[in-house]
């Protein structure tokens, strides 16, 4: 069970949260202007990286807020959590920084 540091409430166990998928994927402002290909890209394509992953979590059984997290999908270690209106921390955090 992961330990997740909610930027509003502090560290809490995973069962208080719901996972929200890949982060920083804004819904297009005018979907009608997109081709089918582009729209399918928004709907379905995911980075699904092995390594550093920016993802959304919601503290569903806590403050209810969505926030973003950087997590290493190999170790499941959280590198950072941050609020939705914040930019992701630079890649000086985590395993890639050392490389």
């Amino acid at each position: 069970m992961l330990l997740i540091d909610c930027p509003y409430c502090g560290p809490r166990p995973e069962i208080e949260f719901t996972y929200g998928g890949e982060a920083h994927r804004a819904r297009p402002a005018d979907p009608a202007a997109l081709s089918d290909e582009e729209w399918a890209g928004y709907l379905y394509l995911r980075r699904n990286p092995k390594g550093r992953h920016a993802e959304r979590w919601r503290h569903a059984h806590g403050c209810g807020r969505f926030f973003n997290a950087l997590r290493d999908t190999v170790s499941d270690a959280f590198l950072a959590t941050y609020r939705v209106n914040e930019t992701p921390p630079p890649p000086t955090i985590g395993p890639e920084a050392a490389a």
Partner: protein, 428 residues
């Protein structure tokens, strides 16, 4: 045309009871290697990335059905070490949609003769797969499956709770259960098989047809020529030239496809499974329940083999949270209260690549020469022979087999999904 190969390898030894006796008299000193450990060649006609059941099977069918001989299977670790060796081995074909039912029943029919096909006992055991209904919604959904399957000529029958218990005596059908058993859908042809044997059987048969199985050979890059077509793969064991690459990398499909600049509609999740200590035969069939999230069978060795839903988040860690296991076992203990004192012996995790509609992708890609077989989610093992057969066809002919024609990448663009998850509401 396949390149003529000079193979010094002796013909494949037959496996049989008589050969076992014969070898026993010689202290079993005369058994061949089941597959060779070759060095990579500089070029192959086709390269399969991923040495699981689907990948090895694809190589076998490319060689056996399509006459290709100059084929390599590249495996990052050891063959059968991914989801092939980690799954709970349930085999069934009672899927709702025609496309899925055709694909999985094609596989089931191949399972029924796979031991003979491969001369390797894969221990396919059609002991029946029973799916439980706990609510009236479950009843509606499962009965729809029964009717849809019957129309497709696929066996699936509806059982009352009493009939379900008669088929599976330890099942608790007390109406006082939190989620009582209201009925069950039974596919008698469904069952289980020995997962390792599938990988090894395909490896041995493919090797005998000249396929090079290259273990500890991780692909690090996919090269494309000026026209964008696949031209080579870079590996930890050197560069391999090839014009035809099939990605059959399960949880790592996104990672490998990205090497060719291809993004996929996939997310990779941890999926856990566990076994109990072995006990004498107590569970005669496979039981699945979506409402309480559990499935269970008993291996020939006597272990109860138990699986559940995935963890919630993308991960390549091959482990999940204990809360998923505890929830699963809570459900199992309600359905089988006599199992509560049995003990969990071993728990492990795999990485399952999941599509938005929970149906696989078995298709050509926009990159010429690149083919993909992925997105099996939690249910790929059951499809192994059928998947391998139609994917080899697709790679050999650069066109889909009728059975996998619907399982394209383009279906996501067009909205022509095969949404077993939404429609079925049953675990895969």
């Amino acid at each position: 045309m396949p390149e003529p190969r000079d193979r010094t390898r002796p013909a494949m030894q037959r496996f049989s009871f008589l050969s076992l006796i014969g070898h026993a008299l010689r202290g079993h000193a005369g058994w061949q290697q089941q597959w060779r450990t070759p060095e990579p060649r500089p070029a192959y006609d086709a390269v399969i990335i991923g040495g699981g059941g689907h990948g090895l099977g694809t190589a076998y069918h490319l060689a056996h059905d399509h006459g290709m001989r100059n084929i390599a299977v590249l495996e990052r670790g050891w063959i059968g070490g991914g989801n092939t060796g980690r799954n709970t081995t349930i085999i069934r074909s009672n899927y709702l949609f025609d496309e899925s039912a055709a694909l999985y029943d094609h596989a089931l029919q191949m399972w029924e003769r796979l031991s003979r096909t491969l001369d390797y006992n894969v221990m396919f055991s059609p002991r029946g797969v029973m799916m439980l209904a706990h609510t009236h919604h479950d009843v509606q959904v499962l009965r729809r499956h029964v009717h849809a399957n019957r129309a497709n000529g696929i066996d699936n029958e509806w059982l009352t709770p009493e009939a379900a218990q008669a088929f599976c005596p330890p099942l608790n059908i007390a109406p006082t259960l939190r989620y009582p058993v209201l009925g069950a859908a039974l596919q008698r042809r469904g069952g289980v098989a020995r997962h390792d044997a599938v990988a090894w059987g395909y490896a041995r048969a493919a090797d005998a047809l000249g396929v090079d199985i290259l273990q500890n050979c991780e692909v690090t890059a996919i090269r494309r020529d000026a026209d964008g077509a696949v031209s080579a793969v870079e590996t930890t064991r050197g560069t391999i030239r090839t014009g035809r690459v099939g990605i059959v990398a399960a949880g790592h499909s996104s990672v490998v496809a990205a090497m060719a600049g291809l993004r996929l509609p996939l997310e990779s999740f941890p999926l856990q499974a566990l076994v109990s200590e072995p006990v004498k035969p107590v569970l005669p069939c496979v039981v699945m329940s979506n409402t309480v999230h559990a499935y269970i069978s008993q291996s020939d060795k006597g272990e109860l083999v138990i699986g559940a839903g995935t963890d919630a988040y993308v991960s390549y860690s091959q482990r999940g949270g204990l809360h998923v296991t505890t929830e699963t076992l809570a459900a199992i203990c309600e359905l089988f209260p006599t199992f509560r004192r049995l003990r969990m012996l071993r728990n492990w995790g795999g990485i399952v690549d999941t599509t938005p509609d929970r149906s696989p992708i078995i298709a050509r890609t926009p990159v010429p020469g690149l083919y993909i077989n992925c997105g099996w989610g939690t249910g790929g093992f059951k499809a192994t022979p059928g998947s391998a057969h139609v994917f080899a066809w697709t790679m050999a002919k650069d066109a889909p087999h009728p059975i996998n024609a619907a399982f394209t990448l383009e279906r996501f663009r067009d909205g022509a999904l095969i949404d077993e998850a939404a429609a079925a509401a049953v675990a895969h």
